[in-house]
């Protein structure tokens, strides 16, 4: 069937998920109803979760969630990349490995054993859990655990307008100050806001917790200085690891 003349083809958007904590998926996006309607008007959701087997679909924008833990995931991801004009990592798992990287703290065999017991041999898991950019080229990232729905909406809008989506380059402290928070260090607690990319409006500190770095590092983090302030706050290396390993376990961003 040929499309009707004059009809502008809407960009085809697909969502895929891999090993994922809870899901930053569309249904968990927390967009307002209006925003969802706007989104559906602007794009065509051509795929959700599973690639049609044997299909030869191609996508304008593919959102990929979750980290890569098994060899077959990696193959599937490479296939998605081939069919997509733009690939966007959606959420911390896809972006930096996320919570799943905790697995990297123990040897792969042991993890397998622990999780799957005797069935372990049936699974072909990778040596380490990987963020998706360790497997394929990623065009853009919507970071966070969970993602910030406003940022999602803005990124989509920017892409549809042909504008390069930009993430903030400054750290969470900036937004934390804007929010008028008392720094948790002043209360004797610790935080990795100074080296974590902003964009979440420092919601965790505002809510009375601290930042654990779910949005990944800023471009030029001063890790040594961060370590020094954590040291000064009385944390031992073990405590630092314990406290902040959730999002810092995927090797390249180890604290």
């Amino acid at each position: 069937m040929t499309p009707r003349a004059g009809r502008v083809r809407k960009p085809g958007v697909a969502f895929f998920d891999f090993t994922c904590c809870e899901g930053c998926q569309l249904d968990a996006l927390n967009l307002t109803e209006d925003q969802i309607m706007d989104l559906l008007r602007a794009v065509e959701i051509v795929e959700f979760r599973e690639v049609k087997t044997g299909g030869c679909e191609s996508y304008d924008i593919s959102f990929v969630e979750g980290s890569i833990a098994r060899e077959e995931d990696a193959d599937r991801l490479r296939d998605i990349r081939e069919r997509s004009k733009t690939v966007i990592a959606l959420g911390a798992c896809a972006h930096i490995g996320g919570v799943n990287c905790l697995r990297n703290l123990v040897p792969a065999d042991a993890a397998l054993q622990e999780v799957y017991g005797d069935a372990a041999g049936d699974y072909d898991i990778l040596d380490t859990v990987l963020p998706i950019d360790a497997v394929i080229d990623v065009d853009y990232v919507i970071p966070g655990c969970p993602i910030n729905p406003e940022e999602f909406a803005r990124t989509v809008a920017d892409l549809l307008l042909g504008k390069e989506p930009r993430l903030p380059r400054h750290p969470v402290c900036v937004e934390c100050k804007m929010a008028g928070n008392l720094c948790v260090f002043e209360k004797g607690q610790t935080c990795v806001g100074p080296i974590t990319r902003a964009g979440c409006k420092a919601i965790c500190v505002t809510a009375g917790r601290h930042c654990w770095g779910c949005r990944g590092l800023v471009d030029d983090p001063n890790i040594d200085a961060q370590r020094e302030i954590l040291d000064d706050a009385g944390l031992t290396v073990e405590q630092i690891l314990e406290e902040f390993r959730i999002y810092f376990s995927c090797g390249k961003e180890a604290l």
Binding site: D38, K163, R169, H170, C173, N222, A225
Partner: protein, 772 residues
């Protein structure tokens, strides 16, 4: 009836004519008169928009003249130019009547800009509003003298309640032992006794995020400004934060006014509270920000269980009107107020060890010091220091598109120089890529650049940045003190190296020749014993003494290239100079020196030169002209401009004749008033400049003359495309020692006898006192 944009009132022809020419060439209709009577006559006969007068010792009636014009023609905008718009001048101007603007003559194009804006707002008024209140109107009217009353705490609560009834009130509230501004409806919730707040109250005038424009995208795009006119009250603002608001006012309401800021500022009532419990990291007294005289509508201070309230503006006075429980303070209360202020100022634990005024030059000398790199090693680039700073006002602007793709908002949010991408440009270059660059920039911006741009130090010593910085490196006081200490150590080192003490003992020189130049001026040729050379540079001076009469600084009028003796040209103005005029050859005089920096020969060599002298400004400039003539091959094209009041008052006419004969020098002369015998150019010296051809890139100008001449000549030179570092001037100051000690020649933080008398404009721009 003619319409004049501008009326200039000045008794001094060079001032009057220069301003006239300069504004006329900028395209305005200008009338210039020499007296207030002429001014009034002009104002009643013609339509006039702006009246300008210059406040100088010899034009002291300037304020009165403007006031008389204003009182008879209230629609005329009055502008007082004052080389030092001190509080006294401003207050005098405000008190006598409301002189609309008091302006410094530097930079010289400021007047033009102000006039441009005034004219624009006049036209806008006629044609109805175009933008959103773009013209900076005066804020709430300041009242003088500031009266003090006393309120009981019950009366203060009533005052709060009445304000809260019709406005949003933001006041300080305690939370986890820290203070912050919150919307408060109940007086019982707020604190008036706090050290400092997490975020400064400036955020209500310049919020962390705000929408500037609502945008419509698509085929017929549109932009709607978003300006909030909502009224609010800031209840309990410390003096240092009021000082910071003063800087923001200058930034956002001066040039290129910001409608969003102006709307908020105008609709915000500022109620101050004196700070009696300074935070441990604050150093407000060092920044002159622990006590303020203005910038508030009302200022509160607790006194013996009640509250003193000082009225700062008309608006503040209205708030107090008709309230119960208000009375005049007792003598005991007034004494208690100043005693507690005094006691509070002693409670600050951090102090600057160097005067504020010295900061710009001090910093400049240590731009490359390793300190910046060492100290910034642990900087997280987290931006906390700039986010909490009341004087920080940098921002980022971005369009946020809605998912419907048809609407968007142009949003600005706080940004700051400590963030790693602040100076990143589209091509990917980052002008301040390292922590060191950014750390130094912030300290320079606060201590130097803002002073140079706005004349206000960019830090009020609130100490918030120090507290907010996790690695504890953000305190400007600490950085400046460190640099001052490095400087002191450096000076100690050079002091011991140099060894030889500057001596007050003069050389005894013999007067070889005396010749009259004009009625009041003579030239003296002096020889040192054993034919010693003075060893001077053009532009330096010596202290000449007649034993028993005294010492006076006198420029050396001859070039060091003419060896064997020096020439001094001297006008008979007072004791020493008069005594010298009575001396005959063979007399013995004391000479010390040479002193001062002289003309910047390294910067002048290989360039085209424009050498400009007015009156006896030729005395020092002659040494440079001789030098250039003797080393002609080291300089490009040389143009000499000389102006005098009359042909008879020209000095060194023999030299002038010689220079005009030389093919490799161009000399142009002019006189203010010609005579029958004078066949040359008539007009003030600025009139010579437009016709000369300058290649700005390779030209340096040197200007020496009476103070009034400088700014107009400079204005003309700038029009020719010369930058501030291409214009050097020589300043005359009262001098007693020549060695940077007696303090007479001090201009702000520097000593003209040592650091001057020659300065480039770039150097002068930081010195509020420079051109007097």
């Amino acid at each position: 009836m003619r319409a004049y944009d501008i009326l200039i009132i000045d008794g001094e022809p060079i001032v009057r004519e220069s301003i006239r020419e300069w504004l006329a060439r900028a395209g305005y209709n200008v009338e210039a008169v020499g007296s207030v009577d002429d001014a009034l006559e002009a104002a009643s006969e013609h339509e006039i928009h702006v009246a300008v007068a210059d406040h100088r010792p010899d034009n002291a009636g300037a304020i009165d003249m403007l006031c008389r014009v204003k009182s008879e023609h209230p629609k005329i905008t009055t502008v007082l130019i004052a080389s030092q718009p001190s509080h006294t001048v401003e207050e005098a101007a405000a008190q006598a009547c409301e002189v609309d603007h008091v302006l410094r003559p530097f930079p010289p194009d400021r007047l033009e800009r102000l006039i441009r804006e005034t004219m624009r707002s006049i036209h806008a008024e006629r044609e109805g509003p175009v933008g959103v209140g773009l013209a900076p109107e005066p804020l709430a009217e300041v009242v003088e003298p500031r009266e003090t009353f006393v309120l009981s705490s019950v009366a203060l609560k009533a005052l709060f309640d009445s304000l809260a009834a019709s406005n949003r009130v933001f006041a300080v509230v305690e939370r986890e032992g820290k203070y912050s501004y919150q919307a408060v409806a109940d007086f019982a919730e707020l604190s008036l006794d706090f050290d400092t707040t997490l975020l400064p109250p400036t955020r209500f005038l310049f919020p962390p995020r705000e929408t500037l424009l609502d945008l419509r995208l698509g085929a017929s795009p549109a932009a709607e400004p978003v300006v909030s006119e909502e009224a609010s009250v800031l209840f309990g603002v410390h003096p240092y934060d009021l000082r910071a608001i003063e800087l923001l006012d200058e930034v956002f309401m001066g040039q290129q006014p910001d409608p969003n800021y102006i709307a908020r500022r105008r609709n915000t009532i500022l109620i101050g509270i004196e700070c009696l419990r300074p935070s441990a990291t604050a150093f407000a007294p060092s920044m002159d920000a622990d006590v303020v005289e203005s910038g508030f509508d009302l200022m509160l201070a607790p006194v013996n269980g009640d509250f003193a309230v000082i009225v700062g503006t008309e608006r503040g006075s209205k708030i107090l009107q008709g309230r119960d429980g208000i009375r005049a303070p007792t003598d005991a209360e007034i004494a208690a107020l100043s005693a507690q202020r005094e006691a509070a100022s002693k409670r600050y634990r951090v102090q600057l060890s160097v005067s504020r005024a010295r900061l710009p030059r001090l910093l400049e000398d240590y731009y490359d010091d390793p300190y910046w790199g060492d100290r910034s090693r642990t900087c997280l680039s987290c931006g906390s220091c700039v986010m909490v700073c009341p004087t920080c006002f940098c921002f980022d602007v971005a369009d946020q598109v809605d998912l419907d793709l048809s609407t968007a908002r142009r949003v600005r949010r706080w940004d700051g120089c400590m963030l790693s991408d602040f100076a990143l440009v589209a091509s990917g270059e980052n002008f301040r890529a390292t922590r060191e660059d950014r750390f130094r920039h912030r300290m320079f911006r606060k201590g130097k650049y803002l002073v140079e741009r706005y004349g206000i130090v960019g830090c009020v010593g609130c100490g918030r940045c120090t507290t907010a910085c996790l690695p504890r490196i953000a305190s400007p006081a600490e950085a400046w003190n460190e640099i001052a200490e490095i400087d002191r150590a450096e000076r100690r080192r050079t002091r011991t190296l140099r060894g030889k003490a500057d001596s007050y003992v003069p050389h005894m020189a013999t007067l070889k020749r005396v010749a009259p130049l004009t009625e009041r001026e003579k030239v003296f040729e002096l020889r040192l014993p054993r034919d010693q050379e003075v060893g001077h540079q053009p532009g330096q001076f010596v202290m000449v003494s007649v034993p028993g009469i005294g010492e006076a600084p006198i420029s050396i009028a001859s070039s060091p290239t003419r060896r064997g003796s020096i020439e001094l040209a001297i006008r008979d103005t007072g004791n020493v100079t008069h005594a010298m005029h009575g001396l005959a050859p063979g007399a013995v005089l004391g000479v010390r020196g040479p002193f001062g920096n002289g003309f910047p020969l390294e910067a002048l060599e290989w360039r085209d030169l424009i050498l400009i002298a007015g009156g006896i400004g030729l005395f020092p400039l002659r040494s440079l002209i001789q030098y250039v003539a003797d080393r002609r091959d080291r300089f490009g094209d040389v143009t000499i401009l000389y102006g005098a009041r009359s042909p008879e008052e020209r000095v060194f006419t023999v030299d002038l004749a010689e220079w005009s004969r030389r093919e490799d020098l161009t000399l142009r002369q002019t006189v203010d008033q010609g005579s029958e015998a004078w066949g040359g150019h008539v007009g003030v010296i600025t009139t010579l400049i437009p016709s000369i051809v300058i290649q700005p890139a390779k030209t340096m100008a040197v200007v020496v003359g009476p103070p009034v001449m400088y700014r107009f000549v400079i204005g003309e030179l700038k029009k020719k495309g010369l930058a501030d570092d291409q214009i050097a001037v020589s300043l005359e100051r009262h001098m007693k020692c020549g060695t940077g000690k007696c303090g007479h020649c001090q201009i702000n933080g520097i000593y003209a006898c040592q650091d001057g008398p020659v300065f480039t404009l770039e150097e002068l721009n930081v010195l509020q006192e420079a051109v007097a």
